[in-house]
């Protein structure tokens, strides 16, 4: 473990870079009252910076380190050459406000990506602007609000979501001034249709329905749901987090959805970056096109240009979204083509079902039916021995795996949500399955080893309560007061 921090290796006179000398006559200085006093930033040499961050990287686990079945996050392999093309000077070294005639390559790429994403989702138009899935949700619900208001239907102030939904769904609804109505799931794991019917009144603006849902199940009532929602004057929206299950096979538009928000960093293989950058394009049917976030790229007399939709819900960022992410997603789509996309979803579904079948003898499976791209188990059988899902997750690290998503969805007790993705081989899945079986046995025979896990990680279980009660959120107190202890410096890892 890398105990030292940058200030510990800082020393006056060290520097990590060299800068050119001033080559013009200096100007008169600014008035003194505008200038800041002396301030502190660490002074570290380049080699120390490289070693420090290399050491930190070795404490991390990424998709390149091994199997990362984090449910709902689609941690698939990120093809290396995508990084290279995104770094081409014509993409990476272009100013967003350059004249449009000098950025026709970038605009063509965006224009085509808009088209491909519309086609893949069975929608009519796409805005690439939202910078992450959650911002895409926000954009969708702003459109929902504007759509109803534009029709003079001003009392629709509620968004309906299932109890299995992602936390971003209700949070985004509130950001758009909506109230949230939650509908439970039925005993098959689908949305409870009778309950849905009961809440779908003239105050409901939209139903946000992740498909397949967060239990990894395709809701076979989709046609009836879509019909009900539309009959009641509301819109049907998809949180597209689970598009990897449908890619190249099924289109959201055909299912009756009015809009969908995507995650290029999940479905379209762009790296997750330790928590971003992502990109959250939104695709809509014609009746919502005029409300899309601005700008869109269109072709006018053979030239690509930006336009703002007539009743756009507005700007969501300073420029056009996370362009660098778009380049990688574009590369991915062009590489795969339609048939490749279908192979992706087919193999994602196969891998999840394989894990489900192999593990259902060992872990409680709340909904025993064919799953899509992910499977949700419950750790409740293990609770008899005092073992919780958290223990199982932590123990998996000792076996060299990233744990699955745990305690989500909320409607499954002690949830263990496994999403293998298509980029894993049978050999990898078998090794993971064996680890899960071994852990189930340990839970019976030696629960203590689970309670005290992980044992082989750079740090052991961390005290989150202490972190929240006595927040220590930066070392900058040290830099200003010089009070920080220096005795913790350790150079070994």
């Amino acid at each position: 473990m890398n105990h030292y921090l940058l200030p510990d290796i800082s020393e006056p006179g060290k520097t990590g870079c060299s800068l050119p000398a001033l080559d013009v006559a200096p100007a008169e200085s600014l008035p003194k009252e505008l200038l800041r006093e002396e301030f502190e930033l660490p002074e570290v040499s380049e080699v120390e910076i490289v070693r420090y961050f290399t050491a930190l990287s070795s404490l991390n686990y990424g998709v390149d380190s091994g199997f990362y079945p984090l449910g709902s996050c689609t941690m698939k392999y990120n093809p290396k050459w995508h990084e290279d093309v995104a770094g081409l000077p014509g993409f990476a070294l272009v100013h967003p406000l350059q004249p449009v005639e000098s950025v026709q390559g970038a605009l063509q790429l965006m224009f085509e990506l808009q088209d491909y994403l519309s086609e893949i989702n069975g929608m009519d138009s796409t805005s690439l602007v939202p910078m992450a899935g959650a911002q895409g949700e926000f954009a969708c619900l702003l459109m929902v609000k504007a759509f109803h208001q534009d029709r003079g239907d001003k009392n629709r102030n509620k968004i309906v979501i299932p109890d299995s939904s992602h936390g971003t769904n209700p949070a985004s609804a509130v950001m758009c001034g909506f109230e949230v109505v939650t509908v439970p799931s039925d005993k098959e794991g689908n949305i409870d249709f009778n309950m849905l019917e009961a809440v779908m009144n003239e105050e409901v603006a939209a139903l946000t329905l992740t498909m397949p849902n967060t239990l990894g199940l395709f809701d076979p009532q989709i046609t009836e749901i879509s019909q009900l929602v539309h009959e009641r004057g509301a819109l049907l929206g998809a949180d597209g987090a689970n598009l990897n299950a449908l890619l190249g096979n099924v289109k959201y538009g055909d299912l009756g959805y009015d809009y969908v928000q995507l995650n290029l960093h999940k479905t379209f293989s762009t790296p997750h970056g330790g928590g971003g950058p992502g990109a959250g394009p939104v695709c809509v049917k014609t009746h919502l096109t005029d409300f899309l976030p601005s700008p869109l790229v269109t072709k006018d007399n053979g030239e690509y240009v930006f336009i703002s939709p007539a009743n756009s819900t507005g700007k969501l960022c300073d420029f056009y979204g996370n362009f660098g992410v778009m380049v990688k997603a574009y590369a991915y789509l062009r590489f795969l083509g339609a048939e490749g996309l279908k192979e992706v979803s087919n193999n994602a579904v196969l891998n999840a079902n394989y894990i489900k079948e192999k593990l259902k003898k060992y872990y409680h499976l709340p909904y025993d039916r064919k799953c899509m791209h992910e499977v949700v188990f419950s750790g409740k059988s293990q609770m008899a021995k005092g073992v919780h899902t958290l223990d199982i997750a932590k123990r998996l690290m000792d076996f060299g795996f990233h744990p699955p998503t745990v305690y989500f969805p909320l409607n499954v007790q002690e949830a263990i949500m496994i999403e293998p993705t298509e980029t894993e081989s049978k050999e990898t899945l078998d090794a993971y399955i064996q680890a899960m079986i071994d852990i189930a046995r340990e839970a019976e025979e030696n629960p203590e080893i689970l309670h005290t896990s992980p044992h082989n990680t750079p740090v052991r279980r961390l005290d989150s309560v202490k972190a929240a009660r006595q927040p220590e959120l930066n070392w900058s107190m040290y830099m200003s007061s010089k009070k920080r202890e220096t005795g913790t410096k350790e150079t070994e890892l």
Partner: protein
């Protein structure tokens, strides 16, 4: 073409289907009504890596890139020097192929780096607490406006008219989402509504000029409102930081800190505030703690503010943000250190003033304001900016932002450490030759 990324062979697929007890993958999809399956997708045929590298190379070559063009354009995206060490660190795949550090024991690299980031950002801004980063400067400003409304229980925010107009639009989107309202305040006028949750001011402002922030802090606080300051992080190498003039929330576009200009994204929003507002902050926050053996370690903390715990009562919906770019900013700040960041700021300041002085000597040109400026400034030209920028482009120079719709014949120019004296002199010479008539 999927083979490189889908390792299962036909043989292993067959074995897996047998284990599952079905004959085909189609059987696994039985919950999807038949008519929705196997529909036609009208997409271009697949291509190999080599083919696509060629094709994308051609597309990229259609763009004028800043390796080949001198650039005097800023207005929200800036060309600054990026030490190579930044790219090499963030291209370590242990960093970029990981996700949000939910499992702290195997994410200490990301978590400790974010802790460093939060620390460095606090040092730079003089603010007490920083989060782990937002999408970009404009959404950081927008979330700050919403946060102020929630803190002050007021439903109106005021934005000074010298704030970047696009930022004002983004703030508008977020504020109106919550059914709050936004007002633009004339910087020349003393009239402004007093029942505002915050006053939002940009330093240096959109036109590059340095505002009297103490005055605005006073004004905001007199109204019982918060001062939200939008800063240029590079300028903080020399300018008074927001923590020193009473900003309650300070945000910034983090792109100048080691992030390529990248056609507008991927960028990074810096978000800081006073400690007392910590629990109303949006986004991820990392804190230091200890493990069961008493060894120091880092975790995501204050999570009861967040959507995955608090759902509809969360302070924001942030999930995936811009962690890798926050890492870039961390490496950048570590690499420059206190001397480097000051030196970059000074290079920008002196070169911008040199350019302004030379342009002001040209017949027909003038520098618009008498206010002090940092690295951007407005010039008034004898002919239409469109013509000037076209002529500059023909000479391999990306000119400044044409703001003539708002200010007659005006261009907003930006000069950074990337512009050599030779480039500046060339710019001046070309401008000098464009006298109109």
């Amino acid at each position: 073409m999927t083979a490189p990324y889908v390792p299962n062979t036909e043989a292993s697929r067959k074995l897996m289907l047998q284990e599952i007890g079905v004959n085909s993958i189609e059987e696994l999809l039985q919950d999807i009504p038949d008519r929705f399956r196997n529909v036609n997708f009208n997409l271009p045929p697949p291509l190999s890596e080599l083919d696509l590298k060629r094709e994308l190379g051609k597309l990229a070559n259609l763009d004028a890139n800043l390796d080949e063009y001198a650039c005097f354009l800023g207005a929200g995206g800036y060309r600054h020097f990026i030490p190579s060490v930044v790219g090499h660190v963030i291209n370590r795949s242990e960093f970029y192929t990981a996700y949000t550090p939910y499992q702290a024991e195997i994410s200490q690299g990301t978590l400790q780096a974010i802790y460093e980031y939060q620390s460095l950002v606090c040092q730079l801004t003089g603010m007490e607490v920083s989060n782990a980063g937002m999408y970009d400067g404009s959404t950081a400003a927008a979330e700050a406006a919403v946060m102020a409304c929630l803190i002050k229980q007021r439903d109106r925010v005021a934005v000074l008219d010298t704030v970047n107009p696009t930022y004002r639009e983004v703030i508008d989107t977020y504020v109106k989402g919550r059914n709050f309202s936004i007002e633009t305040i004339d910087h020349n006028s003393d009239n402004s509504p007093s029942d505002i949750a915050c006053l939002i001011v940009q330093q240096p402002n959109f036109l590059g000029y340095i505002e009297n922030m103490e005055k605005y802090a006073q004004k905001a606080h007199d109204f019982g409102a918060l001062l939200v300051s939008i800063v240029d992080p590079i300028s903080l190498g020399i300018l008074t930081p927001p923590g020193d003039y009473g900003a309650d929330i300070a945000v910034a576009e983090g792109q100048p800190l080691g992030i390529p200009i990248g056609f507008g994204g991927t960028y990074l929003g810096l978000f800081t505030c006073r400690k007392e507002y910590l629990r109303q902050m949006p986004g991820r926050i990392v804190g230091k703690t200890t493990d069961v053996n008493g060894r120091p370690g880092y975790v995501m903390t204050m999570v009861t503010r967040e959507q995955h715990i608090r759902r509809e009562r969360a302070t924001s919906n942030i999930c995936t943000s811009e962690a890798l770019l926050a890492l870039a900013a961390t490496v950048y700040l570590a690499s420059l250190g206190k001397k480097g960041i000051r030196q970059i700021a000074e290079l920008c300041y002196h070169k911008a003033h040199y350019a302004a002085k030379e342009i002001s000597k040209l017949k027909g040109y003038s520098i618009l304001s008498k206010q002090p400026f940092f690295k951007e400034f407005v010039i008034r030209c004898p002919i239409a900016p469109k013509q000037i920028n076209a002529a500059l482009f023909g000479e391999g120079i990306i000119g400044g932002l044409d703001i003539s719709p708002q200010m007659e014949n005006c261009i907003l120019l930006c000069v950074t450490e990337m512009n050599t004296k030779q480039e500046i002199d060339r710019l001046v010479a070309i401008l000098g030759a464009l006298q109109g008539g």
